[in-house]
């Protein structure tokens, strides 16, 4: 029990004394996950919306595949990204393996099905007659989707929260693609694993606490934004 309390004390000390390495790790974690979430939102929300409103063959199959992607194990995503980015892989020329860029690609692949599937579901919750009404007001299909998205922004924000939550806490893919290289690709989750394995529980606890706090602050901000909009209703 003592080692837990001692770990907590030392962890808090590391946070409040402004340990440069710990903060650099936190900053990289945040950048990688926010960037990946942003890209996944930019692709996933329009993609999911159009899948929801468009009629096309094998639509149900496409939705099933995207839904399956929501449960994609991060290590599998990481493995495939590593193979593609490896020196002999098809994207080896990018030289992104063991770089934050490679980690972002892996995280986009993990977040994309989540955000796309939740966007499909959110858009399908819009009354089809509402969409048709917007079209009859002179909207192009893209404009009509945009108007509908503004109507379901609460649900779309929830999709963003879910996507970011999955990424900030993800360890398998960033470990494989990033390699957990000190000062380069070490993020909060991989560093926590490493420090735990090395028996440095105080550093591991500090990293864990920072991860929790970051996750909490980002989710708090998004939830605040979401509820403010809900309140405006």
């Amino acid at each position: 029990m003592d080692f837990i309390l001692s770990g907590l004390q030392k962890g808090l000390a590391l946070i409040f004394t402004g340990n440069a390495e710990v903060y650099a790790i936190a900053e990289l974690s945040l950048l990688v996950s926010l960037f990946a979430t942003g890209v996944a939102v930019l692709i996933g929300v329009p993609l999911g919306s159009f899948i929801a409103v468009k009629k096309f063959p094998l639509k149900k199959l496409a939705i099933s595949i995207i839904n399956t992607g929501m449960g994609l194990p991060p290590v599998v995503a990481g493995l495939f990204v590593m193979l593609f980015l490896s020196r002999n892989g098809p994207l080896g020329f990018l030289e992104w393996l063991y770089t934050p860029g490679g980690m972002i690609i892996a995280q986009i692949i993990i977040a994309l099905p989540i955000i796309t599937a939740l966007s499909v579901s959110a858009m399908q919750s819009v009354d089809p007659n509402f969409y048709r009404q917007i079209l009859t007001l002179g909207a192009s299909e893209r404009q009509a989707v945009w108007v509908c998205l503004k109507e379901i922004r609460l649900t779309v924000t929830a999709a963003v929260i879910a996507g970011f939550g999955r990424l900030i806490s993800e360890v398998g893919a960033v470990m494989i693609v990033g390699g957990n290289i000190r000062h380069q690709t070490r993020v909060l989750t991989t560093a926590t694993v490493l420090e735990t394995q090395m028996g440095n529980f105080d550093t591991a606890i500090a990293l864990g606490l920072i991860l929790l706090m970051l996750s909490f602050v980002i989710n708090l901000a998004l939830t605040f934004l979401q509820q403010q909009r809900a309140g405006a209703k």
């Binding site: 009859t136 002179g138 404009q143 108007v147």
Partner: protein
């Protein structure tokens, strides 16, 4: 303005629709009436370019409406009002301005004008989710007219409103449509609404337009039993023309003979149609100027709109509408014997 010819819409559109011909002119208010599930909404969706193009030709504003490249131009020249007002979660002002925003128009001057016209100027800053159903309908109508459309499609626009609000909005709507010079197509099953608003109308049943023309013609001279039934002809009885003198046909119904002005010939099998409001009931055996006068027994009496509906047995079934005062003054009740009469011009024949 709108010209439909030989339209064949298959089940892929959700409904079979067959229209041989339909024309709506500039500035005309045209109603499409019919029972639930008759195809009114399918027709409106076709006109609103919301369903897949079918066979046949559809011209709107002198353009081929089935040609994809004309779709956006035509959509932006028309407005559609659905039975439910679908508003965005924003202020009344922004809802009314939405069609302008979607067209990239930056001058919102006419928004204020529409808010005034539909009597919702005081609500302009209120969120649409906080409006009553009647106010929501007014916002939906203001939004439909803000772009000064050349064509307005109204799909049962007031079905969820109570009679008082409906009457007030209907009056305003006719005035606005006429002032705008737009053509309008109204789909409704409410005949009173259609009569108040429209210049001409069509009756659609089972996906086919059975009759079109002036409203009074359709109500007085339905061309089929289905149309007669829908437009409120309560007495529809089968008979045979046994004789004809000039235009006056003698129609044998059971053991009775009815006299009806019609163009048919002796020997034709027909349906005799009589509207309830054209059947007079009295206690007097005097026929007066009425050519059809029968002794009748009241089978039942029940409230009907603001009057009473009598079901009479004259040797055939005849339905009559009488006022409350008549019921009281004549002491009408089930089982009582009365005389029922109607003019030869009040009955209408449909060939079987």
């Amino acid at each position: 303005m709108i010209k439909l010819k030989d339209i064949r819409l298959g089940a892929a559109a959700g409904f079979n629709l067959l229209i041989d011909s339909l024309d709506v002119g500039e500035g005309e208010i045209f109603a499409v009436i019919g029972p639930n599930g008759a195809g009114k909404t399918t027709l409106l969706n076709l006109l609103a370019l919301l369903s897949d193009a079918g066979e046949g030709s559809m011209e709107m504003l002198d353009r081929n409406a089935f040609y994809g490249a004309n779709k956006m131009f035509l959509r932006r020249a028309m407005s559609v009002v659905f039975s439910q007002p679908y508003l965005i979660n924003d202020t009344v002002y922004k809802n009314v301005a939405l069609p302008l925003k979607l067209r990239g128009v930056h001058d919102y001057g006419c928004v204020a004008e529409m808010l005034e016209l539909f009597k919702i100027a005081a609500l302009k800053d209120r969120n649409a989710s906080r409006l009553s159903q009647g106010e929501r309908h007014r916002v939906s109508l203001a939004r439909a007219f803000v772009t000064r459309p050349k064509l307005v499609l109204l799909d049962e626009p007031f079905s969820s409103l109570d009679a008082r609000i409906k009457s007030s909005i209907t009056r305003d709507l006719r005035r606005v449509i006429k002032a705008a010079g737009a053509a309008a197509v109204l789909a409704t099953q409410d005949q009173a609404e259609a009569l108040t608003l429209c210049d001409r109308m069509a009756v659609i049943i089972n996906g086919r337009i059975i009759q079109q023309g002036a409203a009074q013609d359709i109500f007085a001279r339905p061309v089929s039993k289905e149309v007669a039934d829908f437009v409120g002809v309560e007495t529809i009885i089968g008979g045979k023309i046994t004789g004809k003198s000039e235009n006056l046909c003698s129609v044998k119904v059971g053991d009775k003979v009815l006299e009806v002005i019609a163009e048919y010939n002796a020997g034709d099998s027909v349906f005799v149609c009589v509207r309830p409001e054209d059947v007079a009931v009295s206690k007097s055996a005097e026929a007066g100027s009425m050519r059809n006068h029968f002794k009748a027994k009241i089978i039942s009496i029940e409230p009907w709109r603001l009057e009473y509906k009598l079901s009479l047995d004259c040797g055939f079934n005849l339905i009559s509408a009488v006022t409350k005062q008549s019921v009281e003054s004549l002491g009408l009740k089930a089982g009582a014997e009365v005389f029922a009469s109607f003019k030869a011009t009040a009955a209408h024949l449909i060939k079987r």
